[in-house]
Amino acid sequence: MSSAPDTSAAAKLAPADLPRRRFVNILLGTGLLASAASFLYPVLRYLVPPKLPDLGGDAVLAARLSEMKPNTAKTFRFGTRPGLLVETSAGEYRAMSATCTHLGCTVQYRPDLREIWCACHNGMYDLNGRNISGPPPRPLEAFEVQVRGDEIFVRRKQEA
């Protein structure tokens, strides 16, 4: 409440001349700064949305054999993103991510061209997911297909 008695003595000296005051100021300043950072840090981390649980090595039921015919395809849920399962004219199953590597549209199978096509910017991929024409910069991520009985399972390719 009342002013400290040493103000007159302190007034004669500039703050920089008082080593003890400078020391206390640095101590308080860094303390305040550190505590402010400790308050701010959780808020900044909170703003970063958490990653949704990824599928990891789990296999997803993409389709049943009875649903598929040669030269057709089906879009299925692969985790939080769509995947594309194609049955080639030869009866082979191919699965890949259905998210175009250009700007993230969902691609579709074109039975007339026997290729995978992205309607947004006319990107083309072959049945292995390789980008063959148009703007896509990278191939689609190819998945592993396993047929168990009547069910077709798809999972991420295991890294060797």
């Binding site: 308050f39 959780p42 909170y46 958490p50």
Partner: protein, 362 residues
């Protein structure tokens, strides 16, 4: 020395009365006396409100209103989002401390008689703000959609329904239908994040503007002494002296909030099930406990009158008296001051006893 900073400042000065505001802040003084510390309660309430606004805005990033999603989204905040548990716990702790501080502020203003002329409207806006804070507490309580909040809302909305004629429409308005459903949730959510904050912003603006206008009140005893011996009058500058003290108190409060949230994180409970029975020991938030407990102990019939009705009526009267208190305080013809202090003591005691009773009651 017309550097770029100075020229930007000069540009700004011509378009915004910054210097005038600075001069005002430097001229403004705050009286200092033995009761000065009670002045911090109002500022502390304001600070906690700020914490509520910030943490509330953060919670909105992940919260989803809706009977199928609300509980899950709060669970997501508590378990998946980094430091989500901290943000939510700070929001809950701060809410409770805010209500406590608002009550403490009200009673300190009452006992120091700071509501007297010309500050009657400051008091009225303050009491309205306290009611708003209780509204915030009530509407926010349902948002996690757990069993406890579900039944508390059920009971809480049933109480105004006892009022004749307007009771039922009020119930339908609050619930958005006959029962507590997802519609109630979206409704209370709307109140909690849009309507109440808008009202609170206006009222806080009025409250603070009035305090700026009239300056801080000095208790009558101290004022009389200062008038007798003018040399005894003590004041400090608002800026920086008072502001720095206030900021220091706020900083300590922020640290305390963080510690409370970390050591006693707020639980989430069990998801509300509209078809489950109410669990034993169901209670509202502590600040509603004294009213809840009163309604519990009032007999069903008092002098031929419905007990529940009587209780609601009594609290209505208490609320009205609190709101209009400055207009009841008159020097003449009666010495109403002592009466007011006495009544406030009795009510404070009643609140304390009933809250404790409600807390320990099975």
């Amino acid at each position: 020395m017309a550097g770029p900073v100075a020229s930007v400042r000069a540009w700004f000065d011509e378009r915004f009365p910054l210097d005038d505001l600075k001069a005002l802040a430097q001229k403004k003084k705050v009286p200092v006396h033995r009761y000065s510390y009670w002045y911090f309660l109002g500022g502390m309430t304001l600070f906690l409100f700020g914490v509520q606004v910030l943490t509330g805005a953060l919670l909105l990033l992940y919260y989803r209103p809706g009977a199928d999603e609300a509980f899950e989204s709060v669970q997501f905040i508590m378990t998946q989002v980094q430091f989500g548990w901290l943000i939510r716990s700070v929001h809950s702790w701060s809410a409770n401390l805010l209500v406590f501080m608002a009550f403490a502020h009200l009673f300190s203003v009452l006992f120091l008689r700071s509501y007297r002329k010309p500050r009657e409207l400051t008091w009225v806006s303050g009491v309205l703000l306290l009611f708003l804070m209780l509204g915030f507490g009530f509407s926010g309580y349902l948002l996690p959609w757990n069993t406890l909040s579900y039944f508390a809302t059920k009971v809480g909305t049933e109480i105004p329904a006892q009022i004749p004629i307007i009771g039922r429409p009020v119930l339908l308005f609050l619930r958005g239908g006959e029962d507590i459903t997802g519609s109630t949730l979206t409704r209370l959510y709307g109140f909690h994040i849009a309507i109440l904050p808008a009202l609170a912003t206006v009222l806080i603006g009025v409250h603070l503007a009035l305090i700026q206008w009239f300056g801080m009140s000095v208790p009558p005893g101290v004022e009389a002494k200062w008038q007798a011996i003018p040399e005894d009058r003590k004041e400090i500058r608002f800026f920086p002296n008072f502001v720095l003290r206030e900021l220091m108190a706020w900083y300590v409060a922020l640290g305390l909030l963080g510690a409370l949230a970390a050591l006693f994180p707020w639980g989430l409970g069990v998801k509300a099930d509209p078809f489950a029975s109410a669990p034993a020991g169901i209670k509202p938030e502590w600040y509603f406990l004294f009213m809840f407990q009163t309604l519990k102990v009032i007999p069903a019939k008092v002098l031929g009158m419905d007990g529940e009705m009587l209780g609601i009526l009594a609290f209505g009267v208490v609320g009205a008296v609190a709101l209009l208190l400055p207009f009841l305080d008159r020097e003449k013809p009666f010495k109403t001051r002592r009466w007011i202090t006495g009544l406030a003591c009795v009510f404070l005691g009643y609140m304390a006893v009933m809250t404790v009773d409600g807390w320990v009651a099975k």
